[in-house]
Symmetry: C2
Subunit: 379 residues, 2 copies
């Protein structure tokens, strides 16, 4: 058999994309193997390159702006952006009006669909807490399938177990339920959020308790705002009973968990923050630690005593019962989180406010929030 024929056969179903090599910048950490673009320059500008000889217009849509690309005579389209904010950004190539994943990019579930992504790196010292460290023991992220009677279908969750879980086979662990945002899914915290590295590094340094982290799908991973027949106010509300009646029992029967409320936390980002408060504040018999990262919180600071079934009306009782109430936000967001925290404080409710300097409604804010939240819980 001729080797060239075989290679052709192996690739029969596959299209190819050309990619050029230039000495500029560093290839982004978010590309597929051997891709040479996108690249990141030291000042945070990103260079994109897409081979599209037949297209008449190609743009890069990133950080709320569309950049026109320039065509070379051979049909290679390139552009260098303005300096971008550090952290992880979803982005799309727009080919003659169609938003698509840059063929050089890894794919990430965000924006209610698979999306391109690029990491604009921070300084190494800033990024250390979410960077893989060869010197520390590494936990595992386990993909688990289980059957949901409520949905009459299999569901999937990801479960982080700390490195020592493999060897300390008599030890039981507290559990954090950690939710993604709107338009995202159960992959986000591990893939974009770097949660495994954050946990590994904190556990190794003794900064947080070794714990199990469960990441499931919040039923809010599409961007049209609601399923057919679902009111906008109910968006993702179907998740709470699935969590309480199916996921928690599944986790507690499959893993060596501590099952009391003091050892159960829930946190989420953006819409997942909304879901976290909706879930935990009505079920404080199940949760003692609560985190909202850039939470989509709709409550009126003037009605603190009435909202969530009046749970904040008796501050003394609340503070005794809830061990952690954490509110995080990026400084460049405008979600009103600081006002909510201040109103809670004024009403006597113990809470921790964290403002991430210089970051937007994006994953770098949420990595930092997780990093701040972990040391507070299960103490």
């Amino acid at each position: 058999m001729k080797r060239t024929i075989l290679f052709s056969a192996l690739l029969a179903a596959c299209s190819m994309t050309a990619s050029a090599t230039t000495p500029d910048g560093t290839v982004a950490s978010t590309v597929i193997p051997e891709a040479q673009y996108p690249r990141v320059l030291p000042d945070g500008k990103a260079m994109f390159s897409i081979f599209a000889p037949e297209a008449k217009d190609v743009k890069i849509d990133i950080c709320g702006r569309k950049y026109d690309m320039t065509r070379s005579p051979e049909g290679n389209w390139t552009v260098t952006t303005d300096p971008l904010v550090v952290g992880f950004h979803y982005y799309f190539a727009v080919v003659d009006g169609v938003g698509v994943i840059d063929p050089s990019s890894e794919a990430y579930y965000g924006c209610g669909r698979m999306s391109g992504g690029i990491e604009i790196p921070e300084a190494e010292t800033e990024a250390a807490y979410y960077t893989f460290d060869p010197k520390v023991p590494h936990g595992q992220v386990r993909e688990c399938q289980y059957f949901s009677a409520r949905e009459n279908a299999p569901r999937r969750c990801f479960v982080y177990t700390p490195a020592e879980y493999e060897t300390k086979t008599d030890k039981r662990y507290p559990v954090l339920y950690l939710q993604h945002g709107m338009g995202e899914d159960e992959r986000g915290w591990h893939q974009q959020g770097m949660m495994a590295n954050i946990l590994d590094n904190q556990i190794a340094a003794g900064k947080c308790e070794p714990m199990i982290v469960v990441m499931d799908y919040g039923n809010c991973g599409y961007i049209h705002g609601a399923r057919k027949g679902e009111k906008r106010d109910d968006f993702g509300a179907s998740f709470t009973p699935i969590l309480l009646e199916e996921i928690i029992p599944y986790i507690d029967s499959t893993f060596r968990t501590k099952t009391d409320r003091d050892n159960r936390a829930m946190a989420g980002l953006s819409w997942g923050g909304h879901q976290t408060l909706q879930t935990t504040l009505y079920n404080l018999d199940r949760f003692a630690h609560i985190g909202s990262f850039s939470g989509a919180l709709f409550f009126d600071p003037n009605k603190i005593r009435e909202i969530y079934g009046g749970v904040f009306a008796d501050a003394g009782a609340f503070n005794k019962r809830v061990k952690t109430l954490f509110l995080g936000i990026g400084s460049e967001e405008n979600f009103g989180t600081e006002k909510i925290s201040a109103a809670l404080t004024q009403a006597g409710i113990d809470n921790t406010l964290y403002v991430s300097p210089g970051t937007h409604h994006e994953w770098l804010t949420w990595r930092r929030c997780l990093n701040q939240f972990l040391p507070l819980i299960f103490k």
Copy 2:
């Protein structure tokens, strides 16, 4: 805060894609949440729909053929294909000449990049062995990061552990190292190959031994055929020492494995089949079970006694040493596997040939091969 403003903020970085609903066929199992296309008709035809009002030409590239799509006045492009072969197919939307992932599709690593994919379902009875069964216990697929000194970088593998691994904490398990093909990566066997369902179902039925399955990156996941400075003959050859010196020791020190050769198998599909023979036949002190699924095998059947360092020269010794030698192939491929099997048999080498009826060089062939291979090993 106005809810509408918040929703806008949440979606600021995201483009949207319109999708229409029709009563035709069934939405493919391989779409993102809430997508209505692609759909599969009972006769195996697939219907695609892409909203691209500004594009001048949109095609679907699937199963070696490009289908022209037709534009509606609103700019929605649709096409219905001819009946497609059952099983999983990579595919691309071609927008004005650029091959991209259909915005409605989940993304799969294949073709050396992230690709679209569609499952053309078999009859339920045919598909049962790789379908999630709520009635059987389910194993887990663990994503593990480890540091490779050879590559001076973190690497990732996926490790299937059977359901009973969680409870039989004194039991040790045999290990199958299972490789993807060229242009694919360590995700393929789990995501496209349905390996967890196959294992769960076989273990529950007592058809195969409970085992650990390790899926790592074969360093052949890009489609240009070789890394810079790498000869085509060496493509992916860097994987063998990583497997022997780093992955196997990592697995044996992290999981409760049986570490003798009788309890270690290796199998791979396509280029992974080539890598499997290259790895195992020169290291029979480490492996006793060998599987090649549509293997890219380059040996001359007339030189059986000479190839692989003469390992086949002494058939008696080989048959005593190698407990399983399995060669699988799809009936619609033309890889010469039957001739190789016949030549081996003629040379006195025990081997099992499996020909998958009606399937091509695609994942349905490899799911079937795995299903045939598993009951043979570790007995």
